[in-house]
């Protein structure tokens, strides 16, 4: 067990070094996200003109939602893990994992963890620059339970995001090109994970439905706990249960696709 942990600790450390190489890339990306935040502030600021609340939330609460989502994204979102995995399958890099006692899923997960640590911390650079400007717009509720339920929710969201990316990477066993699948699914995720608008603004029936889909748990759920859009600890706890269900389901799917894919896989050359 110790040996196994040690194995993946090394993968994590190598991943850390590998991702620090891309520090400019991540910082640039985070900076573009702040342009997106300007759009969000302008759009929602105008939508709130002459109103004190939309969907029961004040302007600063809604802006806090978007800022939190943006920052959390850099800590838990899968960026290009699906492409990387796809490349490794195509290039035959996975062949070595068939011979060594290294689990490919955990190997990639360790690198994902390292990458998110780097990109998450780098996202604070533009945030700190912008903080004097947006500070007055931030309104966080203070209850302690939000932290105790929100952190595990965020951790499970990260695992869900990674598992989805892993599953898309696995499609490489069956399809030559997976980019269109990924971007198609990304459009759905963007919408149903609450990146375009807080999901609670949807018509009640659709909102209820969205709570049963995995997308809800991949971003919206932890952000809603942190920013006060979910106010009932019992409901949050129930949400954690459903989130756990989706996590297990996606992990199982990832495992299934890996095993099935390997059957189709032919390792050519050396």
């Amino acid at each position: 067990m110790r040996a196994a942990l040690n194995k993946y600790r090394h993968v994590f450390l190598v991943g850390l070094q590998g991702n620090i190489v891309y520090r400019w890339h991540f910082t640039l990306r985070a900076t573009f996200s702040f342009f997106h935040l300007i759009v969000v502030f302008l759009l929602w600021g105008a939508a709130y003109a002459g109103k004190t609340e939309i969907g029961g939330f004040a302007l600063d609460q809604t802006l806090t939602y978007f800022v939190t989502m943006m920052v959390l994204q850099f800590f838990i979102s899968a960026f290009n893990e699906d492409y990387q995995i796809s490349e490794e399958i195509r290039n035959g890099l996975i062949n070595q994992f068939l011979l060594k006692p290294v689990n490919y899923f955990i190997y990639r997960l360790s690198i994902f963890g390292a990458a998110r640590l780097v990109s998450g911390l780098l996202a604070f650079v533009p945030l700190l620059v912008a903080l004097p400007l947006i500070h007055d717009q931030l309104a966080y509720p203070g209850e302690a339970w939000r932290l105790w339920l929100g952190l595990p929710a965020a951790a499970m969201s990260a695992l869900i995001q990674f598992s989805i990316a892993f599953c898309f990477g696995m499609l490489t066993f069956w399809f030559l090109e997976i980019q269109s699948f990924i971007i198609l699914s990304y459009a759905i995720e963007t919408l149903l994970a609450g990146q375009v608008f807080p999901l609670d603004l949807l018509p009640p029936g659709i909102y209820r439905l969205s709570q049963f889909l995995p997308y809800y748990y991949q971003m919206y759920f932890p952000v809603a706990i942190f920013t006060g859009r979910i106010n009932d600890p019992a409901a949050a706890l129930g949400g954690l249960g459903l989130q756990f269900f989706w996590l297990v389901a996606l992990l199982a799917l990832a495992r299934l696709l890996w095993l099935r894919g390997l059957r189709r896989h032919t390792a050519v050359g050396g």
């Binding site: 759009l43 939508a47 603004l201």
Partner: protein, 284 residues
């Protein structure tokens, strides 16, 4: 046109006039690229369908956003729901035209500078910028131009608009100016590759800027107004055509957009040619 140098239709009529050989027929060149793109798309039909679907979904995201926000408010910057949808449809038309005609060509041009494959374009008889920009078309984006136009027509219908022929002509002209601005911005950004070899992440900047194109001009205040409405032409490219369709054309605005597109296009051509002088191919 000089058919000897045109690999696409070898053996067609041979030009006897050397003067004509110096000036290729750009329309025919472009049509040949277009035909090649159609053939290619038909070879990879599944791919074409998938990418058309992808773009359709992304347009759906924007339409859904409008639908949801307007459940809770009647106006954004004085624009009603269908006015806003018309604005977003307008921005989609420009963006899809941009993607359809130029996007991948210009990014390939950036990559080619890095790899040295750009030599191939320099060897071609014809304007380099034209050759670089019109190599192929993305048909899936062009298919979605139709959907974007449908969004605009639907919104106009909901608003009870009855634009005359002149209004529509003005709208199309202003859209063309918007496209020219978008094209110029991308050429400018990618031309930087002549000076700094690493220009990854520039696509991100383009998509960040086009997000501003989907907002009504009226929501910009203070510094944001100075930067995004006046300094960078990202807001007026969509707002002025959309306004033209909504409330009849305002001449001052139209003149502004025409002048801005001419200026940015001129700047892009200038920077591109300055960069071209620096190009020294790649060593390997």
């Amino acid at each position: 046109m000089n058919d000897k140098t045109n690999p696409i239709t070898p053996g067609a009529e041979h030009s006897r006039e050397p003067a004509r050989a110096a000036r290729p027929n750009y329309l025919r060149l472009w049509l040949a690229s277009a035909r090649y793109s159609v053939v290619r798309a038909m070879m990879f039909r599944m791919d074409f369908l998938m990418w058309t679907l992808v773009e359709l979904f992304w347009m759906g995201v924007n339409v859904a956003m409008v639908a949801v926000i307007y459940r809770h408010t009647d106006s954004i910057g004085g624009w009603s729901q269908y006015e806003m949808l018309l604005l977003i449809g307008t921005s989609m038309i420009i963006q899809r035209l941009m993607m359809g005609f130029f996007w991948s060509n210009i990014f390939e041009f950036g990559r080619n500078i890095r790899t040295g494959h750009f030599d191939f374009f320099l060897a071609q008889p014809g304007n380099v910028l034209f050759m670089v920009s019109t190599r192929k078309l993305d048909l899936d984006s062009l298919a979605n131009v139709v959907v974007a136009i449908a969004v605009v027509i639907y919104s106009a219908g909901k608003l009870g608009l009855h634009p005359g022929v002149l209004d529509i002509a003005a709208y199309i002209l202003l859209l063309a100016c918007g496209l020219a601005v978008n094209y110029s911005l991308i050429v400018l950004a990618v031309s930087l590759t002549f000076w700094v070899i690493k220009t990854e992440g520039i696509e991100g900047s383009y998509f960040s800027l086009t997000e501003f194109s989907r907002l009504p001009r009226e929501v910009f205040r203070g510094l944001a107004n100075v930067i995004f409405v006046y300094a960078l032409p990202v807001v007026i490219v969509t707002n002025i055509p959309a306004r033209a369709l909504l409330g009849g054309i305002r001449l001052a605005d139209a003149a502004w957009l025409v002048a801005v597109s001419a200026a940015w296009f001129g700047l892009a051509v200038f920077v591109f040619h300055r960069g071209l002088r620096r190009y020294a191919s790649a060593s390997s």
